[in-house]
């Protein structure tokens, strides 16, 4: 029997990203920051892959590289087994956005305050100019149902919605283009615990329903442990440790990982005596 293995939803091979922080008078680069240093990882289809790190670790940069908002200076990025186009043109961007979408952390800044909710959902379609307004509106209604946004809320503006509702809109917008891979950059970090729970439940359900692959970035160990199958720990642009989520988070090999996990105050584990 010959079974060809399914290609990974996402694969990075030695991806390096550098930012220029200073230039000389003549435009030549004088100082750079290495945001990602030879990062490699693989995410299988239908998997939820977690990324843990502190600020400056490069986790947001990694998210942006995957969706094409940043370009690596070296290394390979494969989406669904095919190399991602380094071309920054509109056609290349559209192709990539068909495959992967991103959900940002801040529910306030990720939605245009001048767009009504249904327009936000339908923006991907509006950009492609494929459907007329009425059809776009219908698609928006369909998506709204799937992410728990009521019909009345479709005509509202983002500032009339709560943080949790806005994050639902952001997730809905990402899903309209029917992506295979969803990059979630701290999607629940700005939300209350009970709202976070609702959103996490919804994310789990959506993953089941649509066989989505998640790249889930968070600094919250409890959330990562709950959602993800595997996890990688980032420190200063390098992957320090990666593997099965239960193993990495409970029996970390690396000292940085150990300190990171130990620093998280959790119910039931004592670090400090009051």
């Amino acid at each position: 029997m010959n079974t060809t293995p399914k290609p990974d939803a996402l694969a990075l091979k030695d991806v390096t990203v550098r930012f220029t922080t200073a230039r000389t008078w003549f435009g030549r680069v004088s100082r750079q920051v290495t945001a990602l240093d030879c990062v490699s990882l693989r995410v299988g289809e239908g998997e939820a892959f977690g990324l843990i790190g502190e600020s400056g670790s490069g986790k947001s940069t990694l998210a942006r590289v995957v969706v094409g908002l940043e370009q690596p200076v070296s290394g390979q990025l494969l989406l669904g087994g095919r190399p991602a186009d380094a071309d920054r043109g509109r056609a290349a961007r559209r192709l990539r956005s068909d495959y992967c979408q991103i959900v940002f952390q801040d529910p306030r800044a990720s939605l245009d305050p001048r767009f009504r909710v249904w327009e936000i959902f339908a923006e991907g379609l509006e950009i492609r100019g494929e459907l007329v307004t009425a059809e776009r509106r219908k698609m928006a209604e369909d998506i709204a149902e799937r992410v728990g946004i009521t019909k009345a809320q479709l005509d509202r503006y983002p500032h009339e919605l709560s943080g949790g509702q806005r994050q639902r809109v952001a997730i809905g917008r990402a899903l309209v283009m029917k992506p295979r891979l969803l990059v979630l950059d701290e999607p629940t970090s700005a939300l209350d615990v009970t709202i976070q729970a609702q959103i996490l439940n919804m994310l789990l359900r959506l993953q089941e329903e649509h066989n989505l692959t998640y790249l889930f970035i968070s600094h919250n160990v409890g959330v990562i442990e709950h959602i993800c199958h595997r996890v990688a720990v980032l420190y200063r642009g390098r992957i320090i440790e990666s593997g099965d989520v239960a193993r990495v988070l409970r029996q970390p090999n690396d000292e940085y990982t150990r300190n990171l996990i130990a620093a998280v105050p959790r119910v039931g584990t004592t670090r400090m005596r009051p």
């Binding site: 615990v193 729970a197 600094h219 442990e225 709950h226 300190n259 990171l260 670090r271 009051p274």
Partner: protein, 283 residues
Amino acid sequence: MNAVLSIRDLSVRFPSANAEVEAVRNVSIEVGRGEITGLVGESGSGKTLTAMCAMGLQPANAQVSAKRIEVAGHDVTALDRMQLRSIRGRDIALVPQEPMNSLNPTLRIGKQLEIVIRTHKAMTRAEARASALHSLAQMSIDDPDRVLRAYPFELSGGMRQRVLLAMAFSCRPGILIADEPTTALDVTVQQQVLNLLQAGARANDTSVLFITHDLGVVWNLCHRVYVMRRGEIVEHGAARTVIEAPQHPYTQRLLAALPDNSPPRTPLPVGMDELEPGPHRPA
């Protein structure tokens, strides 16, 4: 009364376009000497507003009524502006949420500390400087001289929060209100700041009212806890007891919603009918 902070039946109303919004309703809180007390709630619960009332820092259009708001023996509601200013810093101090925005970006740290110290104690500049150095050293800052000479933008978030803690402890207040002081910080930095807070509280005989939404921090740091929801206290008691055996359904829901408390990749037990907090705080 052994309580350093005593709030009895506090209610805060905001007049708004159609009706009055009651942001805080009959809240009573006591913080004893040497205690670290947590005030837990989600957004819109009124926890920050309650703490601000204790210092007389509530918004101008807030209508406050209380049987008693007592800080270190002073009745806050009966004080005029000058008197309020004199107890702030000296008897009750505040460490706010965002260390980036709480320091004056145009003054050096040393100058800002000096101002705080000399406002409440008659000291020469040299004495104040020495006191400032001592406060910074207490917060385990290795090179206090360099920090004194620095501007806020030269320091990291964690360092700034340490400076704010040093400022708060500098006059050895009876009670310190910490309003989500570590929310914006990295996890390892948060651990350091919380340790320093605990150590500083012990060293200066300062009680702490710790406002947070993070139950993990409450478990680790607080002796007692008050749980607030929509302007009311729903449960209170010893921190470990309340968390291990919550009595009120809201507290139970809060704990159940923590992903830590459920098996991986299973739906968390929170209903869809859980109404999200509405606009409790008009501008």
